[in-house]
Symmetry: C2
Subunit: 408 residues, 2 copies
């Protein structure tokens, strides 16, 4: 990972911040609750795009995932249609037909071939899409170069706010390259993509093979290190579109800009990951768990995710309770190699255990540290050089309340 | 598994129901809360016992686990000392010393060698045992052939009530064989033994090798199929003592009574498993998930445990919400092979999905079915003959409340 010093945050950045992308959304009645009443949206590039994508690994998955996976394999696409409210999952063969029709409707509106359009759905499982509403809805979408925020709102389900970000950096050949992104999530979030949709756009010219490789690597370090409740979803999808309008030489793995591009996409996805974690269902605090000194990166990921995903750790974070015994419990069961006498623990930078021995600490001070909007645990295993960071949130009564009455 | 028709439940059965076992408990001040103020207890057999045991697989574990594992490997023991309130975990080298001293204190009281005594602790992690309280406490314990309930109470932590059971069956040679058991648990419960302690006794004569094998097999089908919150503990231990006082010929894997003995021990552990699940922290309902038709037993276990452990499924059970989409989501991410078009789902015996297609059902009727004390999901994968049952409970606001303020 190169230094991110030369990557600039764009204020009010969104998925239409890069050149040549337009988006827009409408409300057609798929969402039955929530203030933010948009539920169908489209994204389109003025010119053909390289495409990269990663998807849920669940055996039970939305038809949209199957369709998109086929089209992403071509390496090219130009547009996206997305709805929230209904997941188009567990509806039998009708699911694939409806997903295909959604791409055809979008393609007709845009004058493209259907194979140039990708599709995502999120919401309730087991309900067929009301295609008549979608048919008329597509004709009403107004696409605009400032339309990113409409798309971000239209993809929300139990999210309390839209998630958008963008960054830019200078290519070695002088052009300014912009990367924008949006995401939705909040429950059912866990490694392997969870009920999470995220889309990124860039005006960089990027080789499709390199883009696919980078999308996978960045997702593994960001979205796949996010855990809200251990539940993964049927629909998780992360898609990246690169339209080349910045005019830079095509970026591939031998390009001088490959590292900067990877770092910038990583920053977009890490920003969105933190937003997703902080907006976990019922969450009051962002939790990050950094593990270092692990036997290898795989062990570090296991340990970080297990700690960040532990209901007992998450409940303690909610109670601002420096209950390090639970961190040790979660570390112990994670499957990562750990030697009790070597473990150091830190809470928001304060060491509370050194070499496996608790350090007497001023309890009230640590409780105060943990009472803010973010709690950072660091676990040093002191075995080797494996490192990873996981993102999560606290577990609150509100999570249970939200999820015990979702369809009722 | 043989038919359990000839296994008889014993009313008010407990760990001292089999012949030749005594137990007793005292309060020495280790527990800081809870009504049930016993926290140190002992169990002893009048004669030597074969012994079997299984333990947590956590890399961070109590010194009691290391000590017991060494002693169980000998195949023989006669007594047990157990405390609740403090886990004797993450206290450095002092932990093993204190565990050893506890067995020495019990052995001196009983006139045994220390190596004939096993030890378990449960409670807060990272606090040293106050050995002076334990030294005087051991002398005050009154051992009695009716003392099982005192031991069951003394091992409780956040449990709301003690868990005890016993069954009997007739050996092929005519003797009545009794098996009794106790357990504690309630949070931090998940496969690989969780914060769970369970002890079983029997007056059968059992070969130590066969007993160890049976303990492992039964634990895999009962305690290791129990999930309350996905968190496993540092101290989990299941020990079985067989003293031979029933006078039966020694049971081993070629004995005509081997199947009946296994079935009876299974019934004791399954009874305790259901009691543990029903008493999960904050739980209002017992949840069982039966998976059949899986590719193999391993797939069936994965699917059953993932569904029973899913926070979204558990929240839906709390809300009496027949949200089958979440079952499909959890099935999909479990890693078990599943083909959407083949899956049948049942809620308390009512089919709500057949061959992957939801069956229109009278929602109010299913909500009413789910509003009782027990919710049973059955998932038929219709692929092959793999079967498993997992045990869990609903997720409630009360779980969060209990666990956000445990040490504070």
């Amino acid at each position: 990972m190169p230094a991110s010093a030369d990557i600039n945050a764009i204020s009010n950045g969104t998925i239409t911040s890069p050149q040549g992308f337009s988006a827009g959304g409408v409300f057609i009645g798929l969402k039955t609750r929530g203030e933010d009443k948009l539920d169908l949206a489209m994204l389109v590039s003025d010119s053909p795009c390289s495409i990269g994508g990663v998807f849920t690994t669940s055996a039970i998955r939305s038809a949209t995932v199957d369709l998109d996976r086929e089209r992403v394999a071509r390496g090219q696409a130009r547009a996206l249609i997305v709805n929230a409210g209904i997941a188009n999952t567990c509806v039998g063969a009708q699911g694939y037909k409806d997903a295909e029709e959604m791409t055809r409707l979008a393609a007709e509106k845009l004058g493209l071939g259907a194979e140039d359009v990708l599709v995502c759905s999120t919401g309730v499982i087991g309900v067929e899409l009301p295609m008549s509403l979608i048919r008329s809805g597509v004709t009403q979408i107004a696409l605009d170069a400032d339309g990113g925020p409409e798309l971000a709102r239209a993809m929300m389900t139990t999210d309390t706010h839209p998630k958008e970000t963008a960054v830019s950096f200078a290519a070695s050949t002088g052009q300014t390259i912009t990367i924008g992104g949006v995401a939705k999530g909040s429950g059912m979030i866990n490694p392997n993509m969870a009920t999470m949709l995220s889309f990124a756009t860039t005006d960089a010219a990027v080789d499709p093979g390199f883009l696919q490789m980078t999308v996978k690597a960045v997702a593994d370090e960001t979205y796949n290190m996010l855990t809200v409740d251990g539940d993964s979803s049927t629909n998780d999808t992360f898609l990246a579109f690169a339209n080349g309008q910045a005019g830079n030489p095509v970026i591939d793995d031998r390009s001088p800009d490959s590292e900067a591009f990877t770092a910038a996409l990583h920053q977009v996805c890490a920003n969105l990951t933190r937003m997703l974690a902080r907006d976990g269902e019922g969450a009051t605090r962002l939790l990050t768990v950094q593990v270092d000194g692990a036997r290898d990166a795989i062990d570090a990921r296991k340990a970080a995710l297990t700690i960040a995903g532990s209901p007992l750790v998450k409940s303690a974070v909610y109670g601002a309770d420096p209950n390090w015994g639970r961190l040790m419990m979660a570390l112990g069961r994670s499957g990562a190699e750990a030697v009790e006498e070597k473990v150091d623990l830190f809470v928001n930078g304060v060491c509370i255990m050194e070499a496996g021995t608790p350090i007497p600490f001023h309890r009230d001070a640590v409780v105060a540290l943990m009472s803010g909007e973010q709690v950072d645990f660091r676990v040093s295993l002191n075995l080797a050089a494996g490192e990873a960071t996981a993102y999560g949130c606290d577990l609150t009564e509100q999570y249970v309340i939200i999820n015990s009455a979702y369809t009722t």
